[in-house]
């Protein structure tokens, strides 16, 4: 089998320097994987199952969902009690209204609120379920064997590896996304941010704080 040289730019679609700038280092893939991808994609396009444009549109859509969107949502929830209540009650309609997100055909979503007494941390021990339509694709560690295995049996140790030490009296709930529901965490609003506007607040909301392995940044 021919080894696909990552410097090979004979395929025009590898040449585009678009905004998403995918990494093109393919050395760590089995050559068969790369052949399989191209072959299947070509055949399905030829048969009209989807088009090359469909693929690109799907990639663009996926890349457009990033933790920055989640951070805006959290910041709004911190400043707007009615929105926060709606979000906790039924997340998808609340987001459809306030953020004009098209969440039809996406999995159900529940928003969990961290408080001074209760901390949620989300995982998927069976695969990699994640609120992709809000946060984008999950980080590598979220999908890793180490995280998936350990967070349900030693959450405090895992949180410590993320630099998160919670007060001893704060209860922890590990949420394993085992089925059709996806979970997004509202981190505790940091002290000292009274009167801040949404934009400033959003800068404190990290991806990891919306998974629950971290807290929001201190101001």
């Amino acid at each position: 089998m021919t080894v696909h040289d990552h410097g090979d730019h004979s395929h025009p679609e590898h040449d585009g320097h678009d905004a998403h700038a995918p990494v093109d280092d393919l050395d760590h893939y089995a050559p068969e994987s790369l052949l399989m991808e191209q072959a299947l994609r070509e055949l399905l396009i030829e048969q009209g199952v989807f088009s090359a444009e469909d693929i690109q549109r799907q990639i663009d859509l996926t890349e457009s969902r990033t933790p920055a969107l989640g951070a805006q949502i959290i910041a709004r929830a911190w400043v707007d009690p009615a929105f926060r209540a709606a979000l906790l009650e039924d997340a998808k309609p609340a987001l459809g209204g306030a953020f004009a997100l098209d969440l039809a055909n996406t999995p159900e979503l529940t928003v969990l609120e961290n408080t001074a007494g209760l901390h949620h941390v989300v995982c998927c021990t069976l695969c990699s379920c994640y609120p992709r339509n809000i946060l984008g694709i999950p980080p590598a560690w979220y999908k890793s064997r180490e995280y998936r295995s350990r967070v349900v049996i030693e959450p405090r140790s895992v949180l410590k590896e993320f630099g998160t030490e919670l007060p001893a009296q704060r209860e922890i709930r590990v949420v394993d996304s085992t089925a059709d529901m996806r979970y997004l965490v509202i981190p505790l609003r940091p002290a000292g941010t009274e009167g801040w506007d949404e934009e400033r607040l959003a800068a404190l909301v990290t991806r990891d704080s919306m998974i629950g392995v971290s807290q929001a940044l201190a101001p």
């Binding site: 609120e113 049996i153 959450p155 405090r156 209860e171 922890i172 709930r173 085992t178 529901m181």
Partner: protein, 113 residues
């Protein structure tokens, strides 16, 4: 199980045991463990059938169930107390006579008000 689609918040349940040869969404570490229903999450086609290109109908009720770490891990637990929440389909749940942890307050008392 009959009547499972009406499990109310606070009802003690036990996850069924079993080693299905097929795809299923009930993690191994929770099988046979006792927990408490937090709420019903709606009805969804059975993933064990969807996985084989079948329609998975009629849909099954999915429950958010909370477990005490001590119940789940027993002697393997080496951290302070915490809870695990997982979403379990009705056909994997059966009523539990005993509460998950004797003397433990049942129900979603610490759930958001």
């Amino acid at each position: 199980m009959s009547g499972a689609s009406s499990l109310a918040a606070g009802v003690p349940v036990r996850v069924r045991t079993g080693e299905p040869q097929t795809h299923c969404r009930t993690p191994h570490y929770l099988r046979g463990k006792r927990g408490v229903v937090l709420r019903a999450l709606g009805r969804y086609p059975n993933p064990e059938e969807l996985a084989y290109h079948k329609p998975g109908m009629p849909p099954l009720t999915l429950y958010q169930v909370e477990f005490d770490a001590a119940e789940v891990w027993g002697e393997r637990l080496h951290e302070g107390p915490y809870r695990i929440v997982a979403d379990i389909f009705e056909h994997w749940l059966e009523p539990s006579v005993q509460p998950a942890v004797p003397g433990h307050e049942q129900g979603a008392s610490h759930d958001r008000a």
